[in-house]
Symmetry: C2
Subunit: 205 residues, 2 copies
């Protein structure tokens, strides 16, 4: 088990927060070190340089985020569960909420690590969802409709994580409490299940 109170661990922790807040390029080493209660030179001593620290932070974010749950209930129920979990995970106010914000920054301003992030953080969930969707549609998992429907669902969920600052301006009454998120998840689920059925019917013609 890794210790998490030595300088190296504190740096990763602090760097995760800062990188998630302001992105790689805008993150200041002096800021990170101050939060980690470490000297400015600590980053270079423990990691070599800023980019290597970032890579290390990503590895931790990926590790934390990869606890994807599965089950073998009927597909429709699993979809509801999947949506709820994904939505909660993306909007969880608890630490570390790194992952979502890191991804946002990676999309706005990709670093060389984007490939790894996608493959390790996103691909597993995407493939799982696509399997689920293909199951409901009754098509193979690599069918075009499976991709399209999977993205329709991901798009809706991700919207509430990534577009949050915009959503709250457009619709100030919306809250992001656990209850409200569950309501949103149910909305997305029924909306999407109906959409899936429509696509399925279209497919069968």
């Amino acid at each position: 088990m890794e210790p998490n109170d030595d300088t190296r661990s504190r740096l990763i922790q602090a760097a995760g927060e800062v990188f998630a807040d302001v992105g790689y390029r805008e993150a200041k080493i002096r800021d990170i070190c101050a939060r980690a209660d470490a000297n400015v030179a600590a980053v270079n001593y423990h990691f070599g340089d800023k980019l290597k620290l970032y890579t290390e932070v990503l590895r931790h974010a990926i590790y934390i985020e990869s606890a994807v749950s599965e089950s073998n209930a009927p597909a429709k129920g699993r979809l509801a569960f999947f949506v709820e979990r994904l939505l909660r995970g993306m909007n969880d106010p608890a630490r570390p909420a790194w992952a979502t914000r890191l991804m946002l920054h990676e999309m706005a301003q990709p670093t060389p690590s984007l490939g790894d992030v996608v493959e390790e953080m996103i691909r597993p969930k995407y493939d799982l969802l696509r399997q689920l969707v293909a199951n409901i549609l009754g098509v193979p998992a690599n069918h075009r409709s499976a991709h399209l429907c999977a993205h329709s669902i991901i798009g809706q969920v991700r919207h509430y994580a990534i577009g949050r600052c915009v959503i709250t301006r457009l619709w100030p009454e919306l809250e992001f409490t656990t209850d409200s998120l569950d309501q949103i998840a149910r909305h997305i689920t029924t909306f999407s299940l109906a959409g899936l059925n429509a696509i399925k019917k279209e497919q069968e013609k």
Copy 2:
């Protein structure tokens, strides 16, 4: 009519490209001036400072982007039209494709201008879509379901603009040609119309 070959106009043009590429904070004045074939001091002479230039660029982006079309066809047809236009507009390879990328950067790392951007670039489209959706649902435009469904649709469309670099990694076969975009638009439309119907039925109980 504004001239568009003097230094001031060239600066706005160049700055739009650079800001959209790398975001406000990462954009270098020297880079902008080089593209505009102007001296480093030109920005400060013509606009005062970097932030005022950015504000000016946003005003132009907003102006360009605000050509939202309306019609009085039946609601379902208008939705299809709306989705297609929105999706095309966000993925249009033609210049200026500033707006979408600017928004992405604003979300990742908001500047004080975010409020203006939302109100002038997004709000009109959002209200239009919400009206449309409320019409189909048979509820008032400020009904919770209208908001939720509008965001379900926006989320799907925006996904293909903002998540593009991720999508192409998850699903390399997908193209972003006009044809393909129209296909996607049709998918989102049928998917969403079915979703809307489901929500409507749920509402009527």
